[in-house]
């Protein structure tokens, strides 16, 4: 059976799919690819079934060697790609295109110039054993295939759906969009609520007009932001624990919001002032520490 051998891991790389459903009441969240749109594009390029598993690499740095002839595609955060053949010949490859790897070829993903999460899909899908119906690793619950280490062998499965019909797709967001803290920053669309009435009018105004900075404490659980001032509450009561939606802007006691990503807790005890749109959730999953964001809320 063909496989990808992991020859280098950057900061952190995991296997993900569309996530786990039906375990919220047992305290297990959905997980799955943090930037779902990029993962879906990679899946489409290699013509996999929608639920096929792929690799999510944080800050690039991933390298894999093909065992057997394998088609792959890389999407998400923009990284330089090189392919080194078994004979040592180096060729460049591009993101958002179908890449054919021969047996022994090594694909190296460099450091991203924009975005933080890069997706590597392999035709047939990564076929590690599913846990509770999903191959997603949930960093909060500690469930799913373990994060990748050098030497891991990722078996290639048979989760295809027809044959590739495109060999390149348009990237979903520009390589330079909002990178490097340039004004006015990335704009994230969202919807007020469910608990906007727990906040002071000044907090709602600040959320609509303020520029927020992504902090280094961000991960798959959430993008932690620092605002120009705390978002003050109108209701100071303790919120009875309630379920949290993906993309929630939860505001802890200190008043600086967290955008909940794929591994967010199932329930939380702090009010959610707004929830991002589907597209904005994927964009938020590509925010790098130091980047600035603004919110456009309905």
């Amino acid at each position: 059976m063909s496989a990808l051998e992991v020859t280098a891991v950057g900061l952190f790389a995991t296997v993900q799919d569309q996530g786990r459903r039906g375990f919220l009441d047992q305290g297990v969240g959905t997980a799955g690819a943090a930037d779902r749109a990029s993962a879906a594009l990679a899946t489409r390029l290699v013509a996999n079934a929608a639920g096929a598993a792929l690799v999510e690499a944080l800050f690039g740095g991933l390298a894999v060697r093909a065992r057997g002839a394998i088609a792959v595609a890389v999407t998400g955060a923009y990284c330089p790609l090189t392919v080194t053949t078994a004979a040592g010949r180096v060729r460049h490859a591009a993101m958002y295109e179908l890449i054919d790897l021969a047996d022994g070829d090594e694909l190296r993903i460099g450091a991203p110039s924009a975005g933080v999460r890069t997706y590597l899909a392999v035709r047939g899908g990564v076929d590690l054993p599913p846990v509770l119906g999903s191959r997603s690793y949930d960093t909060l619950a500690g469930i799913g295939p373990a994060p990748l280490s050098v030497g891991d062998r990722l078996p290639v499965g048979t989760a295809t759906d027809g044959y590739p019909v495109v060999d390149a797709v348009a990237p979903p967001w520009g390589a330079g969009s909002g990178a490097g803290g340039e004004a006015p920053g990335v704009v994230l669309d969202g919807f007020l609520g469910p608990r906007d009435d727990w906040f002071a009018p000044e907090a709602l105004a600040l959320l609509r007009t303020g520029v927020f900075t992504v902090t280094p404490a961000s991960d798959r659980v959430g993008v932690r932001l620092e605002g120009p001032a705390p978002l003050d509450r109108a209701i100071a009561d303790e919120l009875p624990s309630e379920p949290m939606a993906l993309g929630s802007l939860q505001v802890p006691a200190a008043g600086h919001p967290i955008i909940f990503l794929a591994d967010h807790p199932v329930t939380g005890g702090y009010p959610v002032i707004a929830v991002l749109s589907d597209a904005a959730i994927d964009r938020a999953a590509q925010l790098a520490p130091g980047q600035r964001v603004r919110f456009r809320l309905r």
Binding site: R21, G22, F23, L24, D25, Q26, G27, V28, T30, V131, L132, A141, G142, I143, G190, F191, L192, G193, P194, R195, P240, S241, E242, P243, M244, A245, L246, G247, S248, P265, V266, T267, V272, V275, L276, S277, D278
Partner: protein, 209 residues
């Protein structure tokens, strides 16, 4: 019943808020018996149920209308239904302090904890952690002012209106009254969680082995 409040949570979720925990548990059970078409996942909180829907299958308006029409079942009051039995050694570090906060002796607190049927209202915090509530008079105590950095697996605690069991070692701020050897989370079991929303629980007192 007071009509629930229906709140928007983004493009794919509706948060339904009820006046009481009893209604929340009852509605959640009703929802499990008669799912709303197009709702692909649901989660409960202390006063809320979140309905996650697929916009390809239904509309927000249809989910909201169905949510407003939910009638709670009698789950929290039906004390005679079958319950999961959880044996507990009542020797928690906070047993005496917690009893004192409630104006009880340690034995009276243990009798109150074992002498009622608990219902799992919702899960969260960690895989297998269930927030247990009871229709009997409350054993409500505040969380510890300073959470412990390490609570052992199997610790049985009280906090707010809830009782709960830590499925694995973790930090935690609940007041610990005992410990159990019952496995709260086991991936080899189906379902892996011993407790999930609607599960009924009786605690029994056992001697340390």
């Amino acid at each position: 019943m007071t009509p629930p409040r229906v709140l928007r949570a983004g493009e794919r979720d509706v948060l339904v808020e009820f006046a009481s925990l009893t209604e929340t548990v009852g509605v959640r059970a009703a929802l499990d018996r008669a799912p709303i078409p197009g709702v692909t996942d649901a989660a409960s909180g202390a006063r809320t149920v979140m309905l996650h829907f697929d916009p390809a299958l239904t509309t927000r308006a249809a989910v909201e209308a169905a949510a407003l029409a939910l009638e709670p079942g009698p789950e929290l009051a039906a004390a005679d239904a079958a319950a999961v039995e959880i044996p507990v050694v009542y020797d928690g570090d906070d047993l005496a302090d917690t009893a004192a906060l409630l104006g009880l002796t340690a034995d009276e607190l243990i009798a109150a904890h074992t002498g009622r049927t608990w219902v799992c209202a919702f899960g969260g915090f960690a895989p297998g952690f269930g927030y247990l509530v009871s229709a009997a008079p409350s054993l409500e105590v505040p969380r510890l002012a300073t959470p412990r950095t390490r609570v052992p697996a199997g610790a049985v605690g009280l906090a707010g209106e809830f009782s709960g069991i830590y499925p694995r070692e973790s930090p935690g701020g609940w007041r610990l009254i005992g410990r159990t050897a019952a496995a709260m989370w086991d991936l080899a079991r189906n379902p892996p969680a011993l407790l999930s929303a609607g599960t009924r629980v009786r605690f029994t007192r056992v001697a340390p082995s």
